[in-house]
């Protein structure tokens, strides 16, 4: 099933190269366009079917979390930062908590670290499944949505069972994790632990997720329209991606073998065997493909973690009842589903940060839009924008 790319390109070239008196038009997309995943507005100068000078207008959802963090205590902040990238709320907590733990020099129990890692990878799966659902939909294929959302629901149910929250778990504590009240065996020594049967159910869910990956792959990779609309469209060279700070699957799709799970030590990823999935051409298709493979790799990591998790043990290190983080500063970054998420934490020894800089992945990933859409065809705006997989809560913070 090959698509004659040259023929398609040729056709579009013919259409725009006809000498006509044309007048530039300003096209306004958004802020409430369904494919913008939130409230993003694009202003583009359109010459025929091609757009130039694309200007993203953001800030419709700016909630000022950096300022709010300065008047909140450390335990309160995790509730805020859940809402940055709400599609993978759980993963947002990790770098912040690790930064605070680093300054406090707290050693987190191994079992708690494994639980964090399992849930982070589950957040990755649910975030990527949303992409698997919405991206083909934006390109006109509705069917994958039902497959992807069905499995995402399964993963979210498991997350909810442990944390009590589907989107905003607020599960991490400085020094460990705190499972949902009342879950787990109710012996005196471990009053709260993982719900009974959670690990087995997660293992089963991973089988289902892997199954749906195959189904989605058949549906999408065999769809000639999607192939024609994504292959060779929105090509992002690696050096441009790096200069703009594009990270995560978008960067790896451009052929860069770089994954913070391999080079940073915020969670014990070095105990597991998994591959960094790298694309070849950096086009929309590769960005889709890399995310599909990352779901499979995440399932692989979760399965190993289920086998390797210490069967019992504390979930919380000993920390003072009132958390005060010693004076100091550090930057901790993590490989979130959307890319590099990090926190530059400055503490003055108080109960809240003096300054918390939030580096969110989607903000930097979105800065590439004016570059990548320069001279693109108008229908490709949707294809390219969707392939970058951003969430406006992660852009506006």
């Amino acid at each position: 099933m090959t698509v004659d790319q040259d023929a398609i390109r040729h056709l579009s070239e013919v259409q725009v190269s006809i000498e006509l008196e044309t007048e530039d038009m300003t096209l306004n997309i958004g802020p409430q366009h369904p494919s913008t995943h939130g409230v993003l507005r694009l202003v583009a100068r359109v010459d025929g079917e091609r757009c130039y000078d694309v200007k993203p207008v953001i800030g419709y959802m700016h909630r000022g979390y950096e300022k709010l963090s300065e008047v909140r205590t450390y335990p309160q902040i995790t509730a805020l930062i859940n809402r940055i990238d709400w599609v993978s709320g759980y993963a947002n907590e990790i770098p912040f908590i690790v930064a605070a733990e680093k300054l406090m020099e707290v050693e987190v129990p191994e079992r708690a670290q494994y639980i964090r890692l399992i849930l982070t990878e589950m957040a990755r799966i649910s975030s990527h499944l949303i992409f698997m659902a919405s991206y083909p939909l934006e390109l006109g294929a509705a069917t994958p949505l039902f497959f992807a959302l069905r499995e995402r629901e399964r993963v979210l149910d498991l997350l909810e069972g442990v944390t009590g929250g589907r989107f905003h778990p607020n599960f991490n504590r400085i020094g460990g994790v705190k499972p949902n009240y009342g879950s787990g065996p109710t012996t005196r020594k471990t009053p709260q632990d993982l719900p009974a049967g959670f690990l087995a159910a997660t293992g089963d869910a991973m089988d289902q997720v892997l199954g749906v990956c195959d189904e989605i792959e058949t549906l999408v990779a065999g769809n000639e329209i999607i192939l024609a609309r994504t292959k060779g469209i929105g090509i992002l060279p690696p050096e441009v991606a790096a200069a703009y700070g594009v990270s995560g699957p978008n960067l790896r799709a451009s052929g860069v073998n770089f994954d913070l799970r391999k080079v940073e030590n915020y969670l014990p990823y070095d105990h597991f065997d998994f591959d960094v999935v790298v694309g070849e051409n950096g086009d929309c298709w590769d960005r889709w493909w890399v995310r599909l493979q990352e779901i499979r790799e995440a399932a692989k990591i979760i399965r190993q973690a289920i086998d390797g998790i210490p069967p019992s043990g504390p979930l919380q290190a000993k920390v003072p009842k009132i958390i005060k983080v010693p004076k100091g500063e550090t930057y901790v970054r993590a490989e979130n589903p959307k890319g590099e998420m990090g926190y530059y934490l400055v503490s003055d020894g108080g109960t809240g940060p003096y300054r918390l800089k939030i580096r969110s992945a989607s903000f930097s990933n979105l800065t590439i839009l004016p570059w990548i859409l320069e001279g693109a065809l108008v229908p490709d705006i949707i294809a390219v924008m969707g392939s970058l997989d951003f969430v406006l809560g992660d852009v506006d913070r």
Binding site: V71, A242, L251, V263, E329, Y344, R359
Partner: protein, 195 residues
Amino acid sequence: MTSNPSDIETTVHPMQDFADSVAEVVGGVAEILHDTVKVTLANDRWVSAHSVARDELDLVFFSWLSAIDWANEVEAGDALKDEVEERLELLSTVGDLTEGKRVTFSTTLDSGLPTVATLVDVYAGANWHEREAAEMFGIEFIGHPNPTKIYLPDGFIGNPLRKSYPLLSREVKPWPGTVDVEGMPEGPSTENPEA
């Protein structure tokens, strides 16, 4: 996860060589803050240091840019415990895409009229980060191609992340959450003796 404090005191930090080499190449002072290499630069070396870092040290990935307002008088949040020299500290972080090395560059700007040259010519991704820092801290980035507001509405007055800027929602209704930690002003302290 966290390194043992006794290791830091007795042995050389594994990042020390890297920190020293960066400081030497870009011409700054390096320190290691909890596994974060921070290199302090003179204001006029801000752009040249970044361009050297990109070209000679292969730190091609632009991560973020922001600032810290070191102020003695604060309108929101807790004041610093010790008196500091009032200044804005401009920070940026760049990294490589092979071994995961990263450097946070720092320079000091005058709180009153902070100006610095733009990094857009070195790292294109600095564009939006500088627009954010400009509106949030009132920093002027000289040579910036599009010095407009990014998050805030046009015509917004003030720089919200300055410590002198009050958190307006708190002015209207004080946040009840502080009672957990500090105790009500007239009531007894609820501070836990364990803390």
